[in-house]
Symmetry: C2
Subunit: 100 residues, 2 copies
């Protein structure tokens, strides 16, 4: 299993961000081919100092081929374009191989 992990820094307007994320972005992601699971969480704090992120979203796939196929699909490109519209510069996207 692999996942695409999106680490979001704190947006200037969290309410507007949250609304767009749940009403528009999640429905776009939900259409990705091969998507097995999505897990979204709000960062509520850090053990040391201030948390460097506001939200973490994880999109799970069977393997890296399936993940990359989803990103290249029309549905993947639509979500990417949407991301640029409401969270430019806020997100770090990591490919992660889930080992356990």
């Amino acid at each position: 299993m692999v996942k695409l992990v999106a680490l979001y820094k704190k947006p200037n307007d969290p309410d507007s961000f949250d609304r767009h994320y749940s009403d528009t972005h999640v429905p776009l992601i939900s259409k990705w081919p091969g998507l097995r699971k999505v897990e979204v969480g709000k960062v509520t704090g850090a053990i040391d100092g201030e948390a460097p992120y506001y939200q973490i979203a994880e999109m799970y796939f069977e393997d890296m081929d399936a993940l990359k196929t989803a990103l290249r699909s029309p549905e993947g490109r639509a979500a990417g374009a949407d991301l640029q519209s409401f969270a430019p510069g806020l997100v770090t996207m990591l490919y992660v191989d889930v080992s356990s």
Copy 2:
């Protein structure tokens, strides 16, 4: 459900890090009271540029009280001390409220 997310920067000696993590650190975490699930993954890349992290570990609990009870327990303190021994300065620990 909540989770403690540990974001590890790349260690100087990844082989030694991996060995200590799997042979010593994971067994210590596994003893945490209230722990529901652990998911560990290796970062294999990023969509833009170089990935800022090497590994992501997520420890799941029923709620924040259970998570903080685990961290304060002897088993939590043992894992914290171990972390300082093999990954000082490498890890960012976030509290995350899993919303979906």
